[in-house]
Point group: D2
Chain length 346, copies 4
């Protein structure tokens, strides 16, 4: 492959996350060309063109596939549509990057994974924090033995304000734990290199009654028990008003590693009332560069014909944990997590 | 009362904590005179005299009470002896400061509280963190509404190395949760001004088999559900090798407050390997001045005839939570916590 | 101008900084097309093509200008060549971005500025820290009155290891103060919105005798006195082994603002030896994104026909301060700084 | 010496600092008994008794000396009276702790030192920061070679609000540099184990005209050049509104060590406006425990008959630097510092 060959890619769904991916593919990722996006909204089409340059816009995935001329797709549609979208793109012979989570049920995960395997196309699932320099550095410390054997993972994931109830609806997003704690569940497995076996959850719609009305909670804590005996203590919130707070600690029997920060810019204001500084408020504030690194990793695995760094099986295993924790939340008892047969990706 | 009147006090039991109290009473607390300690060890008697000046030493509590001439005692014997010691001192008409936890069962708590009430003596339970400037400041922020309504408390309490199995033995110490998570259970109730109603715990002897051999665990995580719906996510460890790590976060619906620190001295060393600083390693490292403030509060409540800031009922309510969490640990299911009828002290 | 029109630009000199600019222009800056670079080295030409895609390579600026087809240039040649390069490009009718400092003498500054003015082309000088989010935020705080009236600026600029003596040579780089304290001198004026009037410097080749041998120093401190009476206390080092340490504090009569940080990734490692984290080691580590923002600002001022945010006069005023401080260093006395007639850019 | 023997001490002058010493001697320092204080103010006498218990009060030093019965004195009178007080106490055969600075002129230093030597009494000068755990730890790192050879010391000392002009008056306090930068000048010599040889200062009454009216400045920066070639860059302020900010950095040729902190309690408040925490505001906030350690060191050197850890010669050498910097401030030129023949205390 010469350096002038470029992967031709389209972005399916240009909501907030899809636009981020589209703009990065158009402007900052090497070896790829963004040729199209899909959206049925004229307004979003205009915004996509403004941010990404001159790209084709199709109203539906079907129209996109019919037009052809693609090597790969980036699926950023709503979670409930992921599995069907993956199957359709796989059957069209396209490599696939699909935003997390892969699906809302283990059955849909299996269907999507099987479609990609049968078509011989690559399937990578979005997991941006695995590409953040801080998380990579922490994983490196753990693998180097710097903290001894991992015993406990503590995590917090906070969003500043709740999404609209139409999105929070568990039928659309999978609910708080599957949607917003997904990354911490994934990272627990990845950082500890260990499989969660049991989950217990407590939570409620403590702040936003509209979230309660659609059958979800806005704050929850989850306890995990891993195969090695290690423990997880996780907290997720949709009402973390002070910022987008992503922090993980892994305590081992010889030390600990912490990932996280409490500031956006390295600026401190000091006055008679004390010392003040800012916080990240959005995911791009906190993780911006990692979105470029993630998409570059996808393009590189296509160009180099290497396995994707985050597989459908990784996402399926994470979803199994999220489903068990969600069941515990509703049933008030610890819930066992079915074994996955697939190894943890590095 | 003129300023020259001093409370005459004795310290019962001069292990590590008893010696700290004795020295503070002898050297740094105003309005009190340490007149005696009890110990059956000649070595400890000598150390007590070296650190506290010329004090009487009695081999037993009985001998101390027989000698008379006291206004108050500070009970720092082993936890399993607390209740009997409190009863004996109350019957001797002495005011009592008793180290936490008050007892190992709710029945013993009731017996000790009743004895003090019948004798008309004051009973204060040791809870040093309530007298630490950081915890006081955090409580003040919460009461001032700075974080809105509290939703979630996250806590970690880590000791660097495990105690000997003879102490870890649940029959002596009450076990990991009652012994070492006690302060966080107490602070949860105090900071949230809310009653825990349900507890779930997971834990194991992940590091020290000797602790497993006496029937205890060395690392545990606990989930609490409070009357208001608020949540607790707590972690306690006897193998936190990097330091004595005490941290609490309370997240409310308008903000959050964090207590804790990652340094002992305000010194930072920088070299080609990065930036390095120290951590507190022991309880006096982390909380030293608060031990003086706590004992001064006890002496002041005797001199001013005001209620003690930490009552037997406060300790009983905390022990109820610890016992429920310990039961959950062993039974693998969430355990309800019996109601307490007493308000939370400020 | 339609969105498809792109500024055609070439990079003159592809050393370390020139390559950074070239890659950003090729990959990450919008509305511009990198069409050529100049270098006489086959190796650098290959590296430029590897990082920037298919660009023309000319051995000299003369050859580049002769080939034509350009709207603008980015001059990243050695400082001693800046003034001649600016004059040649201005006379060719090209807009110019020139790396700091504009020249090594005030006479050369005037010659370069005059050439651009006479040709009617824009001249912007590189000052990447003005485009860093932290510095922008600090400036905003000061302008909003958050610290009252600025009284004192304290600054440190440290590079990990010295450059080769051939570069450190004052005849090439201008010497430590003009070369490496340039940014802090510039920022002093920009953040305080005040003109320095007197400079005093002390310094020596304390570490690297090779730097002393070419007539320069490797560590220096500078005192500035400003028109308003405000004070500057600045330190610059070529031997700051623990990292690339860039920090500024501005203390006002009502508060202070600090810019700077002591970590690269938000990761903390904790073990029995204490708490450890990393530091930025290079300029791209510390300021990476600001290089893109800076170059975008240059392209935007060409496309929108607005004044450049950093002018030749800004650089000239900064160089006047650096020359005075360098003179003080050599003469052992405070040196007055000639007035500049030009206002400070925002 | 048996443990019941106590040094009998009096405090001369019970202003803010004298009261701190008196209370510590009465309550927290072992092996000493506070028997008297001097003050001509009935109000101060009452406050001294309230804080220190039942102590004798004399209107003057003469009356105190006449009454006799003392082993030692702690002199906390105004700086301009120090030398005469030291001479009188030495002639009375008393050991002496004298607050810094020893005197306002080198001649008075010599007179006071000679008096103590002739009388064969110990003379220790107050330098509380040498007894602060952070400064001790930093000194230890430097002596252990952790930063290589020290190159540069950067320091800031800020007081929140100016003292009354009657105190700021250079005839009383010695002026800003001698009074408030004294500690940093002392620590420069102590931490670098190096003698300052030249000083340059700039400063002004930038905030408080009343300070200008008595002939002093409220903000100043000082450059020091040491015998080894090392450099000092120091800033002192009487108008540091955000807190009592004491920080020192020592940069060596292999690393650096920083002393200082930006918080009082380990509490962080987070809300939609960002992250907020407190700062120390007073010297006892910042250094409280060190005052006890310092006075204990004085008592211990009397009881153990060892040399005092801070000598009159140390203070004299520091005053020489302060006088040179003050002269530079007024004359607008660098000023050489006369050699001291005495080694630097550890």
């Amino acid at each position: 492959m010469t350096t002038t060959t470029e992967i031709r890619i389209a972005v399916v769904g240009v909501g907030r996350m899809g636009l981020t991916h589209a703009e990065n593919l158009a402007r900052r990722v090497h070896g790829v060309k963004l040729v199209a996006v899909t959206t049925s909204s004229a307004e979003r089409a205009a915004e996509a063109r403004a941010r990404c340059g001159d790209v084709a816009v199709y109203p539906t995935l079907e129209a996109l596939l019919e037009a052809g001329g693609l090597d790969a797709v980036c699926i950023s549609s709503s979670t409930s549509a992921h599995a069907d979208n993956v199957v359709a793109c796989a059957q069209a012979g396209l490599h696939i990057f699909c935003e997390k989570p892969l699906a809302l049920t283990l059955g849909d995960c299996d269907r999507a994974i099987a479609a990609a395997e049968q078509a011989g196309v690559k399937l990578m699932i979005g997991h941006v924090r695995q590409f953040d320099a801080g998380h990579v550095e922490a994983k490196r410390h753990i693998e180097a033995g710097a903290i001894g054997h991992p015993l406990v993972l503590r995590a917090i994931s906070g969003d500043v304000d709740p999404p609209p109830p139409s999105f929070a609806n568990p039928a659309v997003s999978g609910g708080l734990i599957l949607d917003a704690m997904y990354h911490d569940l994934y990272l627990s497995r990845w950082l500890l290199a260990d499989e969660p076996q049991r989950a217990y959850a407590e939570g409620d719609a403590l702040v936003d009654p509209a979230i309660g009305a659609v059958g979800d909670v806005d704050n929850a804590v989850v306890t995990l028990r891993f195969a090695s005996g290690a423990l997880g203590s996780l907290y997720v919130s949709r009402t973390c008003r002070y910022g987008h707070d992503l922090r993980i600690e892994v305590i081992g029997d010889e030390g600990a590693v912490h990932i996280g920060r409490f500031r956006q810019t390295p600026v401190r204001l000091l006055d008679r009332q004390g010392v003040h500084h800012d916080m990240p408020f959005t995911t791009p504030d906190r993780l911006g560069e990692a979105f470029v690194t993630e998409m570059q990793a996808f393009v590189d695995c296509l160009r180099d014909d290497t396995p994707p760094p985050v597989t459908g099986h990784d996402s399926r295993a994470t979803i199994a944990v999220g489903l068990a924790a969600t069941k515990s939340l509703h049933e008030g008892r610890p819930v066992e997590i079915p074994n996955t047969q697939y190894p943890i990706s590095n």
